[in-house]
Amino acid sequence: MKTAVETQDLNLFYGDFQALKNINLRVKENSITALIGPSGCGKSTLLRTFNRMNDLIEGVRIEGRIVIEGENILAGGTDLVTLRKKVGMVFQRPNPFPLSIEENILFAPKIHKTAAKADHERIVEESLKSVLLWDNLKDKLGKNALNLTLEQQQRLCIARLLPVKPEILLMDEPCSALDPIATERIEELMRVLKEHYTILIVTHNMQQAARVSDDTGFMLLGELIEFASTGSIFTNPSDQRTNDYITGRFG
């Protein structure tokens, strides 16, 4: 399978504190890759390097290379707008804008001027269908998105990404605010989306990683301890620390 993202000797520093240590990993196209590990081990930090969201934080320094489609996105001249269109992000807390459902989905295409007015309706419909919200919401597109359930809000946040036509979706604990049933349904959605997108998900829910992902990386104190197919990580980890973590001995 083709590689979607590859990191090479990636180091990241918040000031003097090194949050990522020599990370090397390779994410396959049209797969789901999970990052697991105890709180504070650097999962979110790693995820946010892929769309350069760490650039927003003062005092961050990054070394190494991250290659997406043959280009090192850490290189000086990288166009962040193009990168972030290609690499979309779903956040931990559902965070729709306090606008209508429709306006949320059309937010980016309107600003990017990528869609003619005549296409707006179709874009809304397609995006909501992709996240399996269309049937429920088609009659209330003008309703404020903040009135939806948390699960619907998170689906909407995913739908909001799609008109930008990303290739890679980054999800930072997308289900941590949801109940188990909603979590399961979002996981189903991820399996559907995998057909068209490469998905990277951070989770501290090991069952979730085991259920949904193809590959899993285990992180500890800024290091990527082990990166392999999900099956082998959970049944036959090669590192003792991975074994300790998945058997619940710490974390």
């Binding site: 769309n51 969201m53 927003l56 003062e58 962040l80 707008v81 193009t82 990168l83 972030r84 269109k85 979309g88 992000m89 956040f91 807390r93 965070n95 804008f97 306090p98 937010f107 980016a108 600003i111 990017h112 404020n144 903040l146 946040c157 909001r160 990404l161 930008v164």
Partner: protein, 283 residues
């Protein structure tokens, strides 16, 4: 006497209640007296006619128009400058010595007595830049005075917009400026509007800054250009109260009432806007 918690509670309550009433009293008295004594003076003629007989009769039209012009002029300068610098401070400026110095300067600017602004305006705009006593000089002086209000309220409004709005927008490949334009400013607008209205009511009500920079003692005509002097309500009130003998008190209180109504109604709009904004805000 035995200590009785219910008694002390009662005394405490009464004292605090009394203090609150005492605070309320002057406000009610001021408004009450001005309305009572000024209302008889209010008429269509009073609002739309030129003053006559050495300002003892006629209307206060040029003073109302002058004040409106000054408010407009003030906003023309203070609004873009204030909003833009607030955007810069909140969205772009890194937290360094210079930014902190600027923020400190703004806070201090707010504490400068208004007569000092008046002298400053006289020195810079009237004399050094040779605008003369004029709408231009007065507006610029008032603009500097209200700048801290606009900057501070705009900053607060911007800071109250959740960081996540910015993050989401940026993560969708929206540029920084577009993010500010489309996902920060719209949500900060009501707050900014509140600041504008507070600034307007301050600019409309102050005497000291316009004293040397624009206000005319007696000028029963409307201005032709921004280099003309104008009459203005607060200064006119001062003049007819202290400088002109034998003015019917009705006229003084009537003028005060008009000024008060303009300022209070603006404050009222600001309060309504702010509370509407709070209710609508769901994040």
């Amino acid at each position: 006497m035995k200590h009785n918690p219910y008694r002390t509670e009662k005394i405490a309550f009464s004292l605090l209640f009394l203090a609150t009433i005492v605070v309320l009293l002057p406000v009610i008295l001021i408004i009450g007296i001005i309305v009572q004594k000024g209302w008889p003076a209010i008429s269509w003629e009073f609002l739309t006619a030129m003053p006559e007989k050495g300002m003892r009769e006629g209307g206060i039209f040029p003073a109302i128009v002058g004040t409106l012009f000054l408010v407009l002029g003030t906003l023309t300068f203070a609004l873009p400058l204030g909003v833009m610098s607030a955007i810069f401070l909140v969205e772009y400026a890194k937290d360094n010595v210079l930014t902190r110095l600027v923020k400190l300067a703004i806070i201090n600017l707010a504490g400068v007595p208004s007569v000092v602004y008046g002298l400053f305006g006289l020195g810079i705009f009237v004399m050094f830049l040779k605008f003369g006593a004029s709408i231009l000089a007065g507006s610029l002086t008032l603009a500097i005075m209200v700048l801290p209000i606009i900057i501070t309220t705009t900053r607060e409004a911007l800071e109250s917009v959740p960081q996540s709005f910015r993050e989401v927008s940026l993560s969708l490949g929206v540029s920084k400026w577009q993010t500010i334009r489309y996902s920060v400013l719209p949500h900060a607008l009501p707050g900014i509007l509140t600041g504008i209205i507070l600034a307007v009511s301050r600019a409309a009500g102050e005497t000291a800054p316009i004293l040397f920079t624009v206000a005319a003692f007696y000028l029963p005509k409307l201005p032709d250009s921004i280099f003309d002097q104008v009459m203005a309500l607060p200064y006119h009130l001062y003049v007819i109260s202290t400088q002109v003998p034998n003015v019917d008190p009705k006229v003084r209180y009537g003028t005060a009432l008009v000024l008060l109504l303009i300022v209070l109604s603006m404050n009222f709009v600001a309060i309504v806007l702010r509370s509407k904004f709070r209710k609508k805000k769901k994040w």
